[in-house]
């Protein structure tokens, strides 16, 4: 019977973080349940009926446990097991490819950052006019309009970045724009960090 109670309680609290407090609470509830079941059996119920009756009249012990959690800790621990905890990524949710499925968005955002960073590295290494002049400017126009397209599809962050990159490359060595881009980037990263923090 004790293992059946234990199994039931493990099941009830399966979504909760395994802490000493939870183990203590389960032990307390289990001891009380065992005695209640014994009393019910003494009043004439068979073992199975006594178990089911004791569980049915227990009430919402999850809420009772979570309530104490609120008081002893600033943040409640119960976590939704269905909600996947995303790994840390400041650009999560920024869609690079507008047709990508939602779950691919993080990878896409990472891809966008990768392209931008390597582009920047190439630019810094070879110097600017060589690249832009050498390849012609058709791909800048393409990059610009792709940025507009992504922006319109809701990929605000990536769209802005793509447009900004195109304009940056086009305007060449204009420092004011470089600064603007830098500030935009920092604001974006801070915004996504704040958002991430709040979601936790």
């Amino acid at each position: 019977m004790n293992s059946r109670i234990q199994k039931h309680l493990d099941n009830v609290f399966s979504g909760f973080e395994d802490t000493q407090r939870l183990r203590d609470f389960k032990e307390e509830v289990a001891a009380n349940l065992a005695e209640k079941i014994a009393d019910l059996q003494a009043s004439g119920l068979d073992e199975d009926a006594a178990f089911r009756e004791a569980i049915a009249t227990l009430g919402d012990i999850r809420a009772a446990y979570a309530q104490g959690e609120d008081e002893s800790h600033p943040r409640p621990v119960p976590k939704n097991p269905k909600k996947r905890k995303d790994s840390f990524n400041p650009v999560a949710g920024m869609s690079f490819d507008p047709f990508a499925k939602k779950r691919r968005r993080e990878e896409d955002a990472g891809l966008a950052w990768g392209i931008l960073l390597s582009g920047l590295a190439v630019y810094l290494y070879f110097g600017f006019s060589n690249i832009a002049g050498g390849f012609g400017s058709w791909w800048l126009v393409t990059l610009f309009f792709y940025g507009v397209y992504v922006l319109l599809r809701g990929g605000l962050g990536c769209g802005t970045l793509l447009i900004a990159t195109a304009v940056l490359i086009y305007t060449g060595t204009k420092r004011w724009f470089l600064m603007l881009l830098g500030i935009t980037g920092i604001v974006m990263v801070i915004t996504s960090l704040v958002k991430k923090w709040r979601e936790r």
């Binding site: 009249t57 012990i61 104490g68």
Partner: protein, 118 residues
């Protein structure tokens, strides 16, 4: 919403369980002022002392105990049962006794006034 409704006590005749539930902390303090008790013992005693009119669900009791403990009105300790699982006992603190006296005075006053009005 269900978790708010769920702990409603199985109450026999038509006494509003809400009125009693509002005094659960005082009832628990009243019992603990006599002796240290563990959870199921408190539920059972309430059932017996109310002459089977009032049955407190364990979950409601656990909520009350956590609340009282957070306010330092009670403390808890593990019993030294040799066989079976350990029981968690609750003991009233001096602040708990004070709070209980105040609850009792408040209740006496409310009872007097309501008796005059209803």
């Amino acid at each position: 919403m269900s978790h708010i409704i769920a702990p409603v006590m199985a109450l026999k005749p038509s006494i509003s369980s809400d009125i009693i539930r509002g005094h659960i902390d005082a009832i628990v303090l009243a019992l603990l002022s006599k002796e240290d008790m563990y959870g199921y013992q408190i539920c059972k005693t309430i059932y017996q002392k109310s002459q089977q009119l009032y049955e407190l669900k364990e979950a409601t009791l656990y909520s009350s105990l956590r609340r009282l403990e957070a306010q330092d009105l009670i403390t808890s300790y593990w019993g030294d049962e040799v066989q079976g699982s350990r029981r968690k006992y609750y003991r009233i603190t001096p602040q708990g006794r004070e709070a209980y006296e105040k609850c009792k005075a408040d209740w006496e006053f409310a009872k007097k006034v309501i008796d005059m009005l209803i």
